[in-house]
């Protein structure tokens, strides 16, 4: 009989699908097939089995080659650079479990570091907006059962969250949405005719970066006030029609992504998107939700939130928690030369930060903890490979709607490899030794 593990959680995107089945070899050591996952999720499980996987820490040498070191040496080096630094940056945290995050925060407290997660280049704008104006939100389950008007603003789930539409937002039959996609009207707002837009009932192809104008225009249209002939490249008739379509729904859900958070305006774009949601609640029920990227970036915000009161950009260097995005955010710190060591776990700033910031990382004492070879591991002084969370070790993760889901272990990591939590505990012990606590 096939050896199948069921109800496996996919540790890739914030959709955190929890219905995967993984087929193992008879001895339970190899992953043979992954069922129900999208192409990205399946690749994540299968790649963990790659023959050429790095299984031991490596130090970069002067001549650009690398030298294998033990986990003990790696932990000592990591503790040393963190303890010697005045203000180390500890960045990432989005591709690991909440348990590991918590150990990492203890390290950061002991060395007086800055803890920042990938929201800093993703939904940081949204977090700032939520602090400014609050957020009327809901869970994906509510959206699936109730939402008959679905808006995707500046996000492209067909590519970034491939099963979001089939599991929650567009196709599933819910309690009040018994006809699946037939019971919903989908509106996409995007400067490109994305693959999500081509499935939509209405696509407003706005001029790139004009989201704030279009969102304001919707608020005007809801109130039946006058609009100029064209706003953000969209004729006013289309805006009035879209406004009426949304008002006529029983439950509107607005999902938004990088199109609004990374374009100019940033947190203000989200402010007004939340304003639109609030307005809609005068006519019907409406909610709004950020499409979180990494599978546990939401968890990182939660853990930081309950430990320090802030969801990212937490500065612990003065012995108390401070928060000031723009000052205590990774890219600003790097660009202003305000940090003197960099520790990266569960993220790849080498690939996803502007190159000017990556250069700064390469000039500093640095360590990258990541199962993969990445542009970050290519520029850091030490690379510590660890087990894949959600594949080789379990742990708590938060879905994009803030629902915690316990991920599962499916196979053992390669012989002798540590999990990130185990490695962090070794670092913590070393740090405590050198700080004399």
């Amino acid at each position: 009989m096939a050896n199948i593990v069921s109800d496996v959680i996919c540790p890739f995107c914030g959709t955190l699908c929890d219905d995967l089945e993984v087929e193992l070899s008879d001895d339970g050591k190899k992953i043979l097939e992954v069922y129900h996952a999208c192409a990205i999720g399946a690749e994540k499980f299968l790649h963990s089995q790659a023959e050429d996987r790095i299984t031991r820490p490596r130090m970069m040498q002067e001549d650009g080659t690398t030298k294998e070191v033990s986990y003990e040496e790696a932990a000592k080096y990591t503790a040393k650079i963190l303890c010697e630094a005045k203000k180390p940056l500890m960045y990432g945290w989005s591709s690991t479990s909440c348990e590991a995050q918590s150990v990492g925060h203890s390290v950061a407290e002991a060395v007086g570091g800055i803890v920042d997660n990938t929201a800093t280049v993703c939904h940081g704008s949204s977090l700032i907006a939520v602090q400014d104006v609050g957020i009327p939100s809901c869970t994906l389950g509510e959206a699936m059962n109730r939402a008959d008007r679905v808006v995707f603003w500046g996000c492209n789930p067909a590519h970034a969250h491939p099963r979001h539409m089939s599991r929650y937002s567009v196709y599933p039959r819910g309690f009040f949405t018994g006809k699946g996609s037939k019971s919903r009207k989908v509106v996409v707002i995007d400067p490109r005719k994305t693959d999500t837009a081509s499935l939509a009932d209405v696509h407003l192809q706005l001029e790139q970066g004009r989201d704030y104008e279009l969102l304001s225009a919707l608020r005007v249209a809801f109130r039946g006030e006058k609009l100029p002939d064209v706003v953000a490249g969209i004729p006013k008739d289309q805006i009035y029609e879209a406004a009426d379509l949304l008002k006529s729904g029983r439950f509107v859900i607005i999902y938004f992504g990088m199109g609004v958070t990374q374009s100019l305006g940033k947190n203000h774009n989200i402010d007004i998107a939340i304003g639109v949601t609030r307005d809609l609640n005068d006519y019907t029920k409406a909610a709004i939700m950020p499409m979180r990227g990494h599978y546990n970036v939401t968890g990182s915000g939660e853990v930081l939130g309950w430990q320090y009161g802030f969801p990212f950009c937490v500065d612990l260097s003065r012995g108390i928690a401070r928060y000031n995005p723009g000052e205590t955010s990774s890219n600003d710190l790097l660009m202003r030369d305000e940090v003197d060591a960099v520790f990266v776990l569960g993220s790849d700033p080498g690939a996803h930060f502007p190159i000017s910031s990556v250069k700064k990382i390469s000039e500093l004492p640095s360590v990258a903890i990541d199962p993969h070879l990445t542009p970050t591991t290519a520029v850091c002084k030490l690379h510590v490979p660890v087990a894949f969370v959600g594949v080789e070790v379990g742990g708590c993760c938060y879905r994009m709607d803030n629902v915690p889901i316990e991920s599962r272990k499916v196979v053992d990591p390669p012989e002798g490899m540590l999990t990130d939590q185990e490695f962090l505990e070794m670092v913590l012990a070393e740090v405590r030794k050198c700080k004399g606590v």
């Binding site: 999208c38 192409a39 990205i40 690749e43 994540k44 790649h47 790659a50 001549d63 650009g64 800093t120 280049v121 940081g124 704008s125 700032i128 492209n156 067909a158 590519h159 970034a160 491939p162 400067p191 490109r192 005719k193 693959d195 192809q205 790139q208 970066g209 990088m258 199109g259 958070t261 990374q262 374009s263 100019l264 940033k266 990227g293 950009c313 995005p325 723009g326 000052e327 955010s329 990774s330 890219n331 600003d332 790849d348 080498g350 690939a351 996803h352 930060f353 502007p354 190159i355 000017s356 910031s357 990556v358 250069k359 390469s362 000039e363 070879l373 990445t374 542009p375 290519a378 520029v379």
Partner: protein
């Protein structure tokens, strides 16, 4: 040599996601992300065939990528490089004091660079950081 000005945005594609999980040091990742998607009308203006190497330059940097036809177009005037180190060579790092670099809406110029090489992700960042490759 013809040069055209476009507005650059970056973002995810499913190929970017799959190849990233398959290993960022592999060719598939370069193939998925070391590209610039352009509208056919812009390719015509630039006088460039599909799958030709081009140089993309902004106020903030420069990078060689392959010009391909927009897969989610039409979007004349707009160019798309999937998120990754190639895009990040040219995007605007300014955060305007709120932490987030400006990944979308960066003015760029594109010109044909047939004989220039496209580096893989590791070589690209190592070179840019002045490290040995």
């Amino acid at each position: 040599m013809t040069k055209i000005s476009l507005n650059l945005i970056t973002g995810r594609t499913i190929q970017q996601g799959v190849s990233m999980e398959g290993g960022k040091e592999k060719k598939a990742y370069t193939k998925a992300c070391g590209i610039i998607e352009m509208d056919p009308s812009d390719m015509k203006k630039l006088n460039v065939w599909k799958n030709t190497n081009v140089r993309v330059t902004s106020e903030f940097g420069t990078v060689i990528v392959k010009a391909v036809e927009a897969t989610q177009g039409p979007h004349p005037g707009l160019a798309y490089i999937p998120m990754g180190p190639w895009a990040n060579m040219v995007i605007d790092p300014n955060t305007y004091s709120m932490g987030m670099p400006t990944f979308k809406g960066v003015p760029i110029e594109v010109e044909v660079a047939i004989n220039e090489p496209i580096y893989d992700s590791q070589e690209l960042v190592r070179r840019a950081c002045g490290l040995k490759v």
